[in-house]
């Protein structure tokens, strides 16, 4: 029997597979496909203080080995999430929940963290300072070490649960930002968010996305994500959750060999609703082939 369990800041997960925020809603859409309790955890849809509709459509574009999205943090607002989405999720999900939080000001992040940290079953907080699809918030906090540290310090003051800061790859030096978060007290890091991209419709001679640019995700970004996780885990001591194009069990093992303690699966859920289930089922088979007994024994190469 292979041991798939991992630990993130004292929170034990049965396996390292966490659906990435924004690709899994609050789990409900996947119930027709499989029992979501097979997951290690679940990072729910990015939540802000107020309800947001997000950006105009089209919000999605096809790319080689991936897709662009410019959803723009559509969500019903933190109070609605606590009153409706979380109780619904708890009915069918018994594993630790990772609360994904976004915002447009330090105060907004703090407000959301204050509310969500009190929720049972929310055992991990993931603070997204890297959404490329909103202006004046999101990624603006994740592209300078000073701003990243400021958010980290502010949310840590009110967080009773481990705080993972979700980092953007759209920066010149992700390591300096990662270190700034660590120094400011972050318990861990999640990386990478999507890479800023664009497509043009040749017939219409206009950008495909109404918002012009969007975040590129999918297998195409996996080597970049892997490289960044490798660089960051070489420079910080806090645990890193690796993500970016992970689609197979082999990708999971590769990301853990780059230094990740757990992984998130994003775009793959959208093209194959069974993606996480397949990965979890394939992990022991790939581990057997590679002579791995315990997944958490994997060391950074």
């Amino acid at each position: 029997m292979k041991d798939l369990s991992v630990e993130l800041s004292g929170v034990k997960l049965d396996n390292p597979i966490i659906p990435a925020s924004g690709t899994y809603g609050f789990g409900q859409e996947f119930l027709p496909y499989y029992d979501i309790n097979i997951l290690g955890s679940l990072s729910f849809k990015g939540t802000t203080s107020e309800a947001r509709f997000g950006n105009p459509t089209p919000r999605i574009a096809e790319c080689p080995n991936g897709m662009l999205n410019s959803v723009g943090l559509q969500n019903p607002g933190v109070e609605h999430v606590i009153a409706h989405e979380l109780p619904q999720l708890r009915k069918t999900f018994r594993k630790p929940i990772m609360a994904n939080i976004s915002g447009f000001s330090v105060d907004e992040y703090v407000h959301c963290v204050e509310l969500l940290t009190k929720e049972d079953q929310v055992e991990l907080l993931e603070v997204n300072i890297s959404c490329p699809n909103v202006h004046g918030g999101g990624m603006a906090f994740g592209t300078s070490p000073e701003a990243a540290a400021e958010i980290t310090r502010a949310v840590k003051k009110v967080a009773a649960k481990p705080v993972y800061i979700k980092l953007s790859p759209n920066v010149t030096d992700i390591v300096s930002i990662a270190k700034a978060c660590e120094d400011a007290g972050a318990d861990g890091l999640s990386l990478i968010n999507t890479m800023l991209g664009m497509r043009i419709d040749l017939k219409r001679r206009k950008p495909v996305l109404a918002n012009v640019m969007g975040g590129y995700s999918g297998p195409g970004i996996f080597p970049v994500a892997l490289r960044m996780v490798y660089q960051v885990t070489g420079a910080v001591k806090i645990p890193v959750i690796g993500m970016g194009g992970i689609s197979t069990a082999r990708d999971v093992i590769e990301m853990m060999m780059a230094g990740a303690k757990a992984v998130q699966v994003g775009a793959a859920n959208l093209v194959d609703p069974y993606a996480c289930k397949t990965i979890i089922e394939q992990l022991p088979i790939e581990m057997e082939k590679l002579g791995i007994e315990k997944l958490s024994d994997i060391q950074r190469v």
Binding site: G22, T23, T57, I60, E62, G66, Q74, G218, N269, L270
Partner: protein, 240 residues
């Protein structure tokens, strides 16, 4: 789930008909759609279901881009990964005794399954199809074989009534509407008759099953996902 492509034939210069064999019991209502995984493309392609039996699914699609171009080249015998039964579809209980089913161009296919279902329920649907010209017309025989009246409108008058579907509507007696087609047509139909109506919308989608929020729209009943809460919206909730 896997399906076998058993037919892929050209109906007009740009419209093709594809038949898939496999378990179609996931389809519960006319007006739902499927998501096809195509080799060489990352995102699935949403195609409305034209009609279905227990073990076959008929899709009629227009070649408009690289994905549908690739579909048109597919040979029978191919195994395809398909998600079925997506979207809310049309609610036949909202159709009266004399429903008018309006399809604009490649919006016509979902009207076929709806027409069959309504006939099975003992209702008397009329199918009204709008095209630019006579050469674009497809599925006329399919409707007539079912025993439903088929009314045609073409912009150039080369077949049927000359003009828009809203011109042809004037001479048809109906008590409810179900429609699918380009948004300007949907809006014109909405404004032309204040009877109970169901309108099927289109939007660029990511997942097709409600997870990604890629195809959201605002309605009077709140934000909706075209893929999961739609593609069919009722008259009362639509914001143009």
């Amino acid at each position: 789930m896997l399906y076998r492509l058993i037919e892929n034939k050209q109906l007009t210069a740009t419209v093709w008909q594809m038949k898939l064999e496999g378990d179609a019991t996931g389809i519960t209502r006319p007006g739902q759609f499927v998501q096809l995984k195509l080799p060489e493309f990352y995102l699935r392609r949403p195609i409305s279901v034209c009609d279905w039996t227990e073990n076959t699914i008929t899709l009629v699609y227009k070649v408009v881009g690289q994905g549908t171009e690739a579909m048109a080249k597919m040979q029978p015998g191919l195994e395809m990964d398909v998600l079925t039964g997506l979207g809310n579809g049309f609610d036949t209980s909202l159709c009266g005794e004399k429903p008018l089913l309006i399809g604009g161009g490649v919006g016509l296919p979902p009207m076929i399954g709806l027409c069959r279902t309504l006939i099975e329920e003992g209702k008397h649907p009329v199918v009204l199809a709008g095209f630019n010209t006579a050469e674009e017309v497809f599925l006329k025989d399919t409707v007539e074989k079912m025993g439903a009246t088929f009314v045609l409108a073409t912009m150039d008058g080369s077949a049927g009534v000359k003009g828009l579907v809203t011109d042809a509507m004037k001479d048809i007696e109906f008590d409810s509407i179900a429609t699918c087609g380009p948004e300007p047509m949907l809006k014109a139909v909405y404004n032309a008759a204040e009877v109970p109506g169901q309108f099927s919308f289109e939007e660029r989608m990511g997942c097709g099953f409600g997870a990604c929020m890629g195809c959201s729209c605002k309605t009077k009943y709140g934000n909706k996902r075209i893929c999961k809460d739609g593609p069919v919206l009722v008259r009362e909730e639509i914001i143009w």
